[in-house]
C-alpha cells in the first residue's frame, strides 16, 4: 500500500511553479530534500490541505485529500508544534486526547519519560528540541500511521537531533507506519531515510531508494572533470581521473549545479 500518492499537484506561489508527482510506499522513511524555496513546504502544505493547490490528485493513506477520517491517522510537525504557551504536558494531553480514538495515555507518559520531558513545565519554557520531542510524543501516542515532518531536526544540536532520529526509528518498528520528512541535513538522511525525493525549482528531479541513488552515480574529479556521472558511463574515462562514491550532499550539490551526466 502507498502512504502518499501525488499526481500532477500544481501550485503557483510567490514565483514558484510547483508541479509534482510522486508515490511513497508505506512502512518506510522517505526524505524530502531541496533548496530553500524549491517547494518542499508548499508540497507538504498542499498534502495537508493547508494550502489550496491549483490542481492535481492527492491521496493520503488511500483516501482523497479532505477526507476527515485521515486526520486522525496523521502526525504533523511543521517547523515546530504550537500549543498554548501556558500549558504543561499534562494540559496538552487533556486537550489532545478527545480528538483521537486511539490515544494512549500510557504511551504518552512513556514517551515523556523516555525523552525526559517534564510534565509540569510550561510549554513556553520548552527549548526547541523539547518542543519537537513533545510533538513526536503526541504523534506516537495517538498511533498516527503517517508522520509528515517539516525539518524535524533543523536548528537542533547534534545530541537532540540524534534523539529525534531515535524516535523516528522507534516509530518505524511498526511496519504500518510511514514517515515523510523534509530536511537540509543530509547526514540525517544517510542515517534513516529509505527513500529520497529531491525537489528542485518546483519539480522532482530524483526519486529513488537511497542506497540505489548512491550506487547509481560516481563522483568524477580531476583531469578536467568535476561532475557526477552515471555508473554506466565511466568505462572510457582516462586513468588519472579520480572516481569516488558520492555522498547525498554531493548528489544534491552537483544536481543543483547541473553537473550531471
Amino acid at each position: 500500500m502507498n502512504a502518499i500518492e501525488v499526481k500532477n499537484l500544481r501550485k503557483s506561489y510567490k514565483g514558484l511553479s510547483l508541479d509534482v508527482s510522486f508515490t511513497i510506499p508505506s512502512g518506510y522513511a522517505c526524505g524530502f530534500i531541496g533548496r530553500n524555496g524549491a517547494g518542499k513546504t508548499t508540497t507538504l502544505k498542499c498534502l495537508l490541505g493547508m494550502t489550496i493547490s491549483d490542481g492535481g490528485n492527492v491521496k493520503i493513506l488511500g483516501k482523497p485529500l479532505g477526507d476527515i477520517s485521515v486526520k486522525e491517522e496523521l502526525g504533523v510537525l511543521l517547523d515546530q508544534p504550537y500549543y498554548q504557551e501556558d500549558w504543561t504536558a499534562v494540559d496538552i494531553e487533556k486537550a489532545l486526547r478527545p480528538y483521537y480514538r486511539r490515544w494512549s495515555g500510557d504511551d504518552w507518559r512513556k514517551y515523556l519519560e523516555l525523552f525526559q520531558l517534564p510534565e509540569r513545565k510550561k510549554f513556553k519554557e520548552f527549548s526547541r528540541g523539547m518542543k519537537m520531542k513533545l510533538g513526536m510524543a503526541a504523534a506516537m501516542a495517538h498511533d498516527a500511521k503517517l508522520l509528515l515532518l517539516d525539518e524535524p531536526t533543523g536548528g537542533l544540536d547534534p545530541v537532540v537531533r540524534e534523539e529525534i532520529l531515535d524516535l523516528m526509528r522507534e516509530y518505524l518498528l511498526d511496519e504500518s507506519r510511514t514517515i515523510f520528512f523534509s530536511t537540509h541535513i543530509t547526514s540525517d538522511l544517510e542515517k534513516i531515510a529509505d527513500r529520497i525525493i529531491f525537489i528542485s525549482n518546483g519539480k522532482i528531479v530524483l526519486d529513488d531508494e537511497k542506497d540505489t541513488l548512491c550506487e547509481k552515480y560516481v563522483l568524477v574529479r580531476g583531469g578536467g572533470y568535476d561532475q557526477l556521472m552515471s555508473c554506466s558511463l565511466i568505462g572510457g574515462l582516462p586513468s588519472d581521473v579520480l572516481t569516488d562514491k558520492p555522498t547525498l550532499e554531493d548528489i544534491v550539490v552537483y544536481f543543483e549545479r547541473g553537473k550531471v551526466k
Partner: protein, 126 residues
C-alpha cells in the same frame, strides 16, 4: 544479541557489512541453527541504518540459503548453514589463491617462495 556496528563511511555498502557480520557469527557458531534473528526493523533501529538496508541484507542471506523468513514469525538461522558458509569461504580462498599464483608467477616467485608467504600470513593471523 547481534553485537556489531555498521560504518556509513566505509566503501563497503552497509548491507554487505551486515551480511558479513551475520555470516561470521553463523560460521563461528555464535548464531545457532534455528536461532531467531532480530526483525529487520529492529536491526535497522539498533544499527541506525535504513530499513531497506537491513531488508536487502536479510534478502541476500535468505537467497544464499543461510536464513529463512517466516511471515509473521520472524527470521531464523537455517539448519546446517555452516556447511554453506564454509563452502563459500573455500570458494573465496580458491579465487584469492589463483590471484596470488598469477601475481607470484608474474613476479618470478617459486612455489617454495609462495608457500613461504602463505605460511607467514597464516602465522600472522590468529
Amino acid at each position: 544479541m547481534l553485537n556489531f556496528a555498521v560504518s556509513l563511511q566505509s566503501s563497503i555498502p552497509a548491507y554487505e557489512q551486515i551480511k558479513e557480520q551475520i555470516k561470521k557469527r553463523i560460521i563461528s557458531g555464535e548464531l545457532k541453527d534455528g536461532e531467531t534473528l532480530p526483525s529487520m526493523r529492529m536491526l535497522a533501529r539498533d544499527l541506525k541504518v535504513s530499513i531497506i538496508t537491513t531488508t536487502r541484507a536479510y534478502a541476500d542471506l535468505e537467497n544464499e540459503g543461510l536464513i529463512s523468513t517466516v511471515q509473521g514469525r520472524g527470521c531464523f538461522v537455517n539448519a546446517l548453514p555452516k556447511e554453506i558458509v564454509r563452502k563459500q569461504y573455500i570458494n573465496d580462498i580458491d579465487a584469492s589463491l589463483s590471484n596470488a599464483v598469477i601475481k607470484g608467477k608474474a613476479a618470478g616467485l617459486s612455489l617454495a617462495e609462495l608457500l613461504q608467504k602463505l605460511e607467514d600470513k597464516f602465522n600472522e593471523c590468529d
